[in-house]
Symmetry: C2
Subunit: 157 residues, 2 copies
DNA sequence: TCTAATTAGTTCGATGTCGCACTAAATTGC
DNA sequence: GCAATTTAGTGCGACATCGAACTAATTAGA
């Protein structure tokens, strides 16, 4: 694997190359998102706002930690940041006194919408090099990969 | 962070879902890699070892920071870790006294090879859901996306 | 029902990322 | 050839991630 070129794509090297490319894209797109977020917010904050909007707020911190595959301590820290900015509200969970519920504030909803609006232009530019057809082609493949990685992780623990 | 099942496959949401999926894959595959690395090493360490093997050692730190799209301070930190484990050696750059060159040690090459060997089984499993042809299909598309994000970032600064 | 085990969340400490400011060396411009 | 600018790398500080250990509440089981 000292050099990889020529010949059809095969061998472990191409899998490394794929995951490497994915890593760089993740990093660059996260930076892009964070450039569109209000001062003091980072990608995980947005991800949480987005999640609560889509699946409905009132989720518990642990529920969300599992949904995002992050340790609960990390989610705790992210939620503390959102709360400090008054984008979410933590209330006691009536069904379980150990637990909490996370609710979006009006400002939280607004920040999410404004961020999405701010990103619309970037995504439009992106479509010049990545057509909707391209997305349709690669997304199902990537989803298969993600599902496999996900299952694999479960069976490791 | 990552993780969110993407929204409906249409319009900007489709792009959003793609980047989201990429974020999840990055996170899960990094965790998998790190589970196969010797104690004390993390993904960036392996990435550097791999890079030096592929493109040849004797690269400068800045060259590699650019290749990986990380700040030079981050690369500095990563290289310090590799040096502490004696997996690379930093030597002065004869062509530029401000600069250094990074050389693999024998142990560095060995660690890389052993890690790849440890991953072989995982990649073989992966190839059951992601064929080499799949990789050949999606890799060029992802590379276009990465190149675009890269250029975009340059023009922002 | 009472004890043991489990679960939700936080605190704390170790470590990673990265921007800012700095030094030393190289390059540019005149 | 020399001052001004740029470039390579590091030190430091702010902040993020995350594992271990802890508290409080719930659930399991005999």
């Amino acid at each position: 694997m000292a050099h990889e070129q020529g010949g059809p794509p095969s061998g472990p090297g191409h899998y490394f190359g794929l995951l490497n490319e994915i890593g760089i894209i993740e990093q660059l797109s996260r930076t892009l998102l964070e450039a569109r977020l209000p001062e003091g917010l980072i990608a995980p904050h947005f991800t949480v706002l987005n999640h609560l909007t889509r699946v409905g707020d009132g989720r518990t911190p642990l529920e969300m930690a599992r949904a995002f595959q992050v340790p609960k301590t990390s989610m705790s820290h992210t939620l503390a940041g959102l709360e400090k900015h008054r984008l979410v509200e933590m209330r006691p969970n009536p069904a379980d006194k150990r637990s909490k519920q996370v609710w979006l504030t009006d400002e939280g909803r607004m920040v999410r919408e404004q961020t999405i609006a701010a990103l619309a232009g970037d995504l439009a530019d992106m479509s010049q090099v990545l057509s909707p057809q391209d997305v349709g082609t690669i997304l199902p493949v990537l989803t298969r990969l993600r599902v496999w990685l996900d299952k694999r992780r479960d069976s490791e623990d």
